[in-house]
Structures are given as structure tokens and as C-alpha cells.
């Protein structure tokens, strides 16, 4: 029906009709598809979310005498510099090397500071060569002083992304934010109907070379993003979970700090909030109907992050209309939701891009090459050491205590078997608590006689089906030295201690 050239001519003449993806949804509902497809030339999309897979190429220029930098640090954050002599790539998730700063000010924050125009310290180390004799540099740089500062993000704009909840009894700190115990909240990250790749789900217009809005500057799609997948389940044409991604590029010297932000997911690490907006030319009725998709029509799976495995179980499937209400019903309970990506900024970006086009400052492009639409799946990484499960640990003779046992009796059992932990169980070997040698010493010191007075009742456990690596992390996180192994029925099957695990990990 229309061509990109025709639309660009109308932009030039100031006649193009540009609407945001949210407005498009309403227009098609009100005026029908046929009419709207004829009327509207461009639909603008927007998203402002935490996109870990982001970073920047920097070229610092040559010093006198020159240096071939092999390690570089910007305000304490290491940038990869195994590229030529004075180039580096600063990744968004890189923590600060200063342990006091750590995750609080990492690569993402440095990228934001650069875009803000801040001066910062560059430290470089080198091994020295005949042509690059200098081995050390400490100086100040800024966005103005570097030759290039080019943002290149390997994976942005996920087409859809599962929402997260947590079924365990402890709070989890994840890249999906803080997840409260017992499914206390749900966080989702997609902008839904405003999100770029949900408005062109089959990549009919977005492809290699597409000109876009990136952090307030003109940017480009430079290809498929990493972890790009095509062969996924769809509903109403759009993937129900992760699928397409984009690799994006833009000049940081033109960016606006309003549309980019360094952030830290608590106890997870730095990440970059990237503002991206993509214009979609309405060339035909099909594209009009794709861009008219509403939050209600976009499915989203809620996944349990309490299971730290590659494929986490789905709790339920919902849609963005429900998620954006702020509460959602999970197993009959109302649970609050958090968007995680800024819906407000997503709207602002779509509006800003619309404005650029209205003003005749931004023209649409045809992809130089289309993105793949089939045959792509995300392959897992198989690891050499297959993950050992708790039940594979060879368990020693199981020694248990009863709640009625006398303290001195328990102390003797521990000494005799040279163990430090003793699970306390009922007559069916179901777990009631745990005592450690420290608890016993404490009991003796305070003249306590009954085991139930000194045992810990809230026990951190290991399940038979869990990988040992997960248990190692749990031991570490809770600063404990051992935990009981439990089967499905809460029966104690054995004990696993920090020593068992370090023997196992160091052993092979």
C-alpha cells in the first residue's frame, strides 16, 4: 500500500501522521483497521528497561610517549582493553574494583557519568613494547576528550520477558529486583504494548540498519541480538516469552542523560537502563493490526525464581493488562506487582520519537538485510562437570537425636562420631530441628537440660533433588556449616556439611 520512500516524503513535507503504539491501539479500536491503516504513516514504540547486555567502545587517543594498554580502569571500573592499543570496551555489569564501592558504582554508572559529561580518572597498565614504551598511565578523561564513545549493546529490547516471583521462604535478590518470600510480589520487565519488538513480531520492518531512538540520540539496529530465538510459542502473533533481541549502536556524544541510567539491582549488581524507541512504518493493513496489539493480547508467563535452575517452572500465564493493574491473583491471593522498566519513560520515548518525526528531523529506513524469522533457538551451555545432586552424595551412617534426649547424651553422640551437627527428628524421622556442638556448649553453660530448648527450629535444609552447587551457595549465604538432607516427605536422609562440599569441589 505505502512505501518507506512515500512516508519519508510526507515527513519531509510535514504531512506524515505519526502516533505512538498506545495511541494506535486505541485508534484501531475506534476507527477500524482499514481506515487507520490508510490514515497512519508511522507508529512509534518505546522502552526504558534494565538491559544488562550493554556497553561502550571507547578510544582514548595516544599519549606521548605512547602506551599499549592491556588493562584499563575508569573511576575504578575495568574496561576490556585487549583491543589494539588505546581502545576499550566498558561493560555495563562490571563491578567497581574498589571493594567498598563494588556493585554500587559499576560499568553502567560510568557510562551514565560519561554521557553526563563528567570528568573521570583513567588508569591504564601495559607491558611496554618498542613502539609503545609507556607501562602506566593515570589521567583524566571525559566524553569530550575521547575520540570515540560508541554504545554497542549486544542484547537489548527483548521481545517479551517472563515475570518473576519467588516461592521459597527467603527473600531473593535477582536481576528481576527483590523478590519477596512465599510469592509476596511479582516483577515484570516488558513495556507491553509499547515495546518495540512486540509491535513488529515477525520483523517485517525492523532489521539490520534500522534507524532508531537510542538514549536520546539517533542509533541503529546493527543486527540480531545475542540469545536471539525465533521458534517459540506465540499467541496473537507475539511470543509468550523471550524470543527476538536486537544489537544496538549509538554515538554517546549525542546522547541525553535523561534517557540512560546506571543502576544497581540490590545484591545482584550494576545494570544499565537503556531508553530505546523504534519507528514502525505502516506499509499495509497487516502492520497496522500488529501495531494495534493491546496489553491484554500480549501473554506473559510468571516464573518461579525460587528454583535456581536453567529452566524455572512457570507459575501461571497472564497478560500485561493484568500485570499493569498493580495486583495480580496468584493461587487465590492478591499479590502486588512491580514493572521494573519505567512505563512513564517508555511513553516519553515513544512521544519524543514521534516529535522528532513530526518536526522532520528523523526519517525512516528500510532494513539492509532482514533479521532471521526461523530456525533460531537458544542453545544451552553444557558443562563438563555434570551437576551433582544432593542425593548423589554418599551419606555416612545417619545419626539422629530425639527431642526428649538428654543434653549429655547428645553431647556424647557428637563426640563419639566426631560430628558437629545433629538433626532432631520425631518417631517417623521427620525433621523437627537441628543442634550444633555450639548449641550444646551453650546449653551446658546456661544449665539447660532439654534439647528442645536449645535446638534451632527454623532449619535451613537441602533437598535431595537440588544440585550441590546450589547448596554450596546456600551454606555460604547463610553462614552455616552444615544442613540436613530432606526428601519430599520431610524425612531426614542425611547431613551435608561445608567440608563435604569443599572436598567434592576441590576433589575432581
Amino acid at each position: 500500500m505505502k512505501t518507506v520512500e512515500e512516508i519519508n516524503q510526507r515527513i519531509k513535507d510535514g504531512d506524515a501522521v505519526v502516533v505512538t503504539a498506545a495511541e494506535m491501539t486505541r485508534l484501531v479500536k475506534e476507527n477500524g483497521l482499514k481506515e487507520t491503516a490508510k490514515e497512519v504513516d508511522v507508529v512509534t514504540t518505546g522502552t526504558f528497561g534494565a538491559m544488562c547486555s550493554s556497553g561502550a567502545f571507547l578510544n582514548f587517543g595516544h599519549s606521548d610517549p605512547p602506551i599499549k594498554m592491556s588493562r584499563t580502569y575508569l573511576n575504578g571500573v575495568e574496561a576490556y582493553s585487549g583491543i589494539a592499543a588505546v581502545d576499550a570496551y566498558l561493560g555495563a555489569t562490571q563491578p567497581n574494583r574498589n571493594p567498598d564501592v563494588g556493585l554500587e558504582h559499576g560499568g553502567a554508572h560510568v557510562i551514565e557519568d560519561l554521557i553526563r559529561g563528567d570528568e573521570m580518572e583513567l588508569v591504564a597498565e601495559a607491558y611496554g613494547t618498542d613502539c609503545y614504551p609507556l607501562t602506566e598511565i593515570k589521567t583524566q578523561i571525559s566524553l569530550d576528550s575521547v575520540n570515540q564513545a560508541i554504545m554497542v549493546n549486544p542484547r537489548n529490547c527483548y521481545q517479551n520477558y517472563a515475570a518473576a516471583t519467588n516461592s521459597t521462604d527467603e527473600t531473593l535478590y535477582t536481576y528481576m529486583g527483590t523478590l519477596l518470600p512465599k510469592m509476596g510480589n511479582v516483577s515484570y520487565s516488558s513495556a507491553g504494548e509499547l515495546s518495540p519488538l512486540l509491535n513488529d513480531p515477525y520483523f517485517q520492518t525492523i532489521g539490520n540498519g534500522t534507524r532508531i531512538f537510542l538514549c536520546g540520540a539517533e542509533g541503529y539496529v546493527i543486527g540480531e541480538g545475542t540469545q536471539y530465538a525465533t521458534d517459540v510459542e506465540r499467541k496473537n502473533g507475539v511470543p509468550v516469552s523471550t524470543a527476538g533481541t536486537l544489537m544496538l549502536k549509538g554515538d554517546m556524544k549525542d546522547m541525553d542523560p535523561d534517557y540512560v541510567r546506571g543502576a544497581t539491582m540490590p545484591k545482584y549488581g550494576p545494570t544499565l537502563y537503556v531508553g530505546a524507541g523504534i519507528p514502525i512504518p505502516i506499509l499495509n493493513e497487516e502492520l497496522a493490526s500488529r501495531t494495534a496489539i493491546s496489553d491484554e493480547e500480549i501473554a506473559c508467563q510468571i516464573i518461579d525464581y525460587g528454583i535456581p535452575r536453567r529452566s524455572r517452572p512457570m507459575v501461571m500465564e497472564t497478560n500485561y493488562h493484568e500485570l499493569k493493574k498493580g495486583v495480580i491473583e496468584l493461587d487465590g491471593v492478591e499479590v502486588p506487582t512491580s514493572p521494573l522498566s519505567s512505563q512513564k519513560k517508555a511513553i516519553k520515548i515513544a512521544e519524543e520519537l514521534k516529535n522528532w518525526i513530526d518536526q522532520g528531523e528523523f526519517f525512516l529506513t528500510q532494513p539492509i538485510k532482514k533479521l532471521p524469522t526461523k530456525g533460531r533457538t537458544v542453545k544451552p551451555l553444557e558443562i563438563q562437570r555434570p551437576s551433582i545432586l544432593v542425593k548423589d552424595l554418599k551419606s555416612e551412617v545417619l545419626i539422629l537425636a530425639r527431642p526428649t534426649d538428654d543434653i549429655s547424651e547428645v553431647a556424647r553422640k557428637m563426640v563419639q562420631n566426631s560430628i558437629n551437627h545433629l538433626p532432631v527428628v520425631d518417631e517417623n524421622n521427620k525433621l523437627l530441628g537441628i543442634v550444633t556442638s555450639w548449641d550444646i556448649a551453650n546449653a551446658v553453660a546456661h544449665g539447660k537440660r532439654k534439647l528442645t530448648d536449645v535446638m534451632t527450629k527454623k532449619v535451613i535444609i537441602a533437598r535431595e533433588e537440588e544440585p550441590v552447587d546450589v547448596i554450596a551457595r546456600r551454606i555460604d549465604k547463610n553462614k552455616i556449616s552444615g544442613l540436613p538432607i530432606i526428601d519430599k516427605d520431610n524425612t531426614v536422609k542425611g547431613m551435608v556439611t561445608a567440608e563435604d562440599i569443599s572436598r567434592l569441589m576441590g576433589g575432581d
Partner: protein, 128 residues
């Protein structure tokens, strides 16, 4: 509640605090104290069934009581309206406006600090 107790020089010798703890069903914690013969201040935290009666007793004994309230404040320049804090607030003090601006109602806030710790841009703070 948390409050500052102001002691005038005339009452520093009286056993007001121990009387208070003996006679009222309250739990009581001294967070800071700076009292000399010239008078002084004490920061306390107090709760329990008879808190109101306890406050009346303190005032009767001549202690000036200044409660402090925790307020939650959002730095609008830092906040990106991501809403990560919304689902963490136990009293629903954080809600989105129609345009998805994330608004905090400090009248509802109980100062638990969940939002503070979980804000990715460290934009929201609880102060006294």
C-alpha cells in the same frame, strides 16, 4: 514510637526512667543519651500496651517529649519511575499515578526501608 526526651536541670536527679519501666507495661529502648547535671536529651524507642499512659507520666514528671516521625523521600532527579519499589511496600504507600509517575505517600509510610534498599538508583530514602 521514637522520641526525644528533654530533661531540665531540676529533674536530672529523679529516677523517672526506672519508675517508668517498673510501673508501666511497655517495652523501652534507649538509643542515645546525653545527660549532665545541667540537663540533657535522651532518644528512646517505646511501644507496648501502656505507651499512652507512659507518655502522660513522663510529661507529668516534667519531661518534654518530642516524637520523631520517619518520612520517606524520593529524589525526583534520581528516580526513573521504574516501580521496583511498588510491590515491596507493605502498606501500599507507593503507587503509580495515571501517567505512571511513581508517587510515595509519606503519611502511609511506616519507615520499614524495604523500598530504600531495593531501589536500583538509590532514589528513595527514609529519614527522620
Amino acid at each position: 514510637m521514637k522520641a526525644w526526651l528533654n530533661f531540665s536541670p531540676s529533674i536530672v536527679n529523679k529516677t523517672i526512667i526506672s519508675d517508668l519501666i517498673k510501673n508501666f507495661d511497655i517495652h523501652f529502648n534507649i538509643l542515645r543519651a546525653d545527660i549532665t547535671p545541667k540537663g540533657g536529651k535522651m532518644l528512646i524507642e517505646m511501644g507496648g500496651n501502656q505507651s499512652e499512659e507512659a507518655i502522660k507520666f513522663l510529661e507529668k514528671e516534667g519531661i518534654q517529649l518530642t516524637p520523631i516521625k520517619k518520612v520517606v523521600k524520593k529524589d525526583e532527579d534520581k528516580c526513573i519511575d521504574c516501580g521496583a519499589c511498588m510491590s515491596l511496600c507493605p502498606v501500599k504507600a507507593i503507587c503509580p499515578a495515571d501517567d505512571w509517575t511513581v508517587d510515595v505517600d509519606d503519611k502511609l509510610c511506616i519507615g520499614c526501608g524495604f523500598c530504600t534498599f531495593s531501589c536500583p538508583t538509590r532514589a528513595i530514602k527514609v529519614t527522620e
